[in-house]
Symmetry: C2
Subunit: 252 residues, 2 copies
DNA sequence: GCCCATCTGTGCGATATGTCAACAACGGTT
DNA sequence: AACCGTTGTTGACATATCGCACAGATGGGC
């Protein structure tokens, strides 16, 4: 089977692109705005939006389009197909309870990590994280362990993008991060000290399936109290490694 | 402007339908399976799936298709456009902390409620709820307050569907539920006693915007301990009504 | 009110897409 | 091995869709 150009449906690709033009900054868009954001012709964008409205994925007041909760179904369809969230959630709750801090599981999507399960204990971060939330991989503990598991070429590729300093602690040099990835790979965990947000530390380990492939990452987030990082590792790592072993047995 | 048939893009509608054929029961589908589930021609379904794969929304191993986390972007795009979740989350956390039980905010999508924000305190329900999760409206406290706010015709329409008894306590008669909706409307809150799951009670109030329109619902879930429902109401309702008033001021 | 800029809606030709039917490949059954 | 039903793939043709260009609509500034 050869995937020819004839097998690609432009209309579908364009419609999905239009959905993705809706962001927190632009929750309501006119046809022209969406067209500009998607880099498409207005006429085509109009047809996409009218189709979305007709199918119940968007609302239209005659001037502006907004997405409806129906769109959430698409994402939910995706989360539901992942065995991971349901399997780790109860176990995550228990672990989080035991250690008294928030823990999460995320997967890698391109240059971003995507939260798929979370057990929140107290609020450390300024932004609320929930399943579906995204953060850049390069400056997060879970991102580091998953980047470390990639072939070096791919990691290098992801780190070739812009790496903004989210705090004064953020590593922004691709070379330095690659070096850190090597260490993460060797020691089997990653520790982050306020690189994503001031006052926040986190520690992550990879989640492997039964075949030993890294499929996700598990982390704990905790307030930065000035104690040495090593004591954080000593405190959290053992329980996390236990979890890693358990998960590995149950993940096909 | 008249929405003619000419303005609908069949390909987009079909592609979205294909995405929705992926469920927890069918996380991996062959072309023929997806075609059967979507009620479409195999050739068309194949082009949809190949397009999704080409755009990064699906993976293809030559035999089976699976959705990728990229699809979550679509849902996330939608959640991000809602001002509600970000606005209520901090406040939800505080309220939940104060009363020591889990609280959530959901919106109505057809016959289902969709969780958009949640502050979990302890585990009462067997299933993990998170933003994007869905439950039927007819047997949930948040569903009841939102159904009560609809024009009667629409509520009747939603209750015309199958209403399975999730527990022995579940109201399954549309007439009885409509009667309950009238009471909910009059008293301004809904209380559910183990209708969705044994051992779980919940109480909900509508969330109004500044114009007085019901845009969401706020609830508390708690374990059923056999105390009279009235004492539950006395304990939780005052704080919830305070929240309702606060939210009303800030929601445009 | 008038002008200008921008937007939405629409006709049209070129092109892509949907549907149907046919066909080859595959796996299971007898 | 021949048979069967199913699946993935391809070709052909009718039809839908794209993107362009234009007309009418809208709104802001003065």
């Amino acid at each position: 089977m050869t995937i020819t150009e004839r097998d690609i449906m432009g209309g579908l690709a364009k419609g999905l692109a239009v959905i993705e033009t809706f962001t927190a900054d632009r929750p309501r868009q006119s046809i022209a705005e969406a067209a500009a954001a998607a880099g498409m012709d207005r006429a085509t964008t109009r047809r996409c939006l009218l189709t979305l409205a007709h199918q119940g994925y968007a609302d239209y007041d005659g001037k502006f389009f907004t997405l409806t909760p129906r769109v959430l179904r698409l994402g939910t369809a995706c989360l539901a197909t992942m065995p991971l969230p349901q399997m780790v959630q109860p176990w995550l709750d228990a672990l989080s309870e035991e250690l008294g801090e928030s823990s999460s599981v995320s997967i890698l999507d391109g240059a971003e990590i995507v939260y798929v399960a979370r057990a929140a204990q107290r609020k450390v971060m300024s932004i609320a994280l929930m399943p579906g939330s995204r953060l850049p991989a390069y400056c997060t503990s879970m991102g580091r362990v998953m980047l470390a598991a990639l072939p070096e070429v791919q990691a290098r590729d992801i780190l070739a993008a812009e790496l903004p300093a989210r705090t004064s602690h953020t590593l922004t040099d691709a070379g330095a991060i690659l070096q850190e990835l090597a260490r993460v790979r060797a020691q089997g965990y990653a520790v982050i000290d306020q690189e994503v947000e001031l006052g926040l530390r986190s520690i992550a380990v990879p989640v492997l399936n039964a075949r030993g492939k890294v499929v996700a990452a598990l982390n704990f987030g905790l307030p930065a109290r000035g104690e040495p990082l090593q004591s954080v590792v000593d405190h959290y790592l053992p329980a996390m490694l236990r979890g890693q072993t358990e998960l590995r047995r149950v993940l096909r």
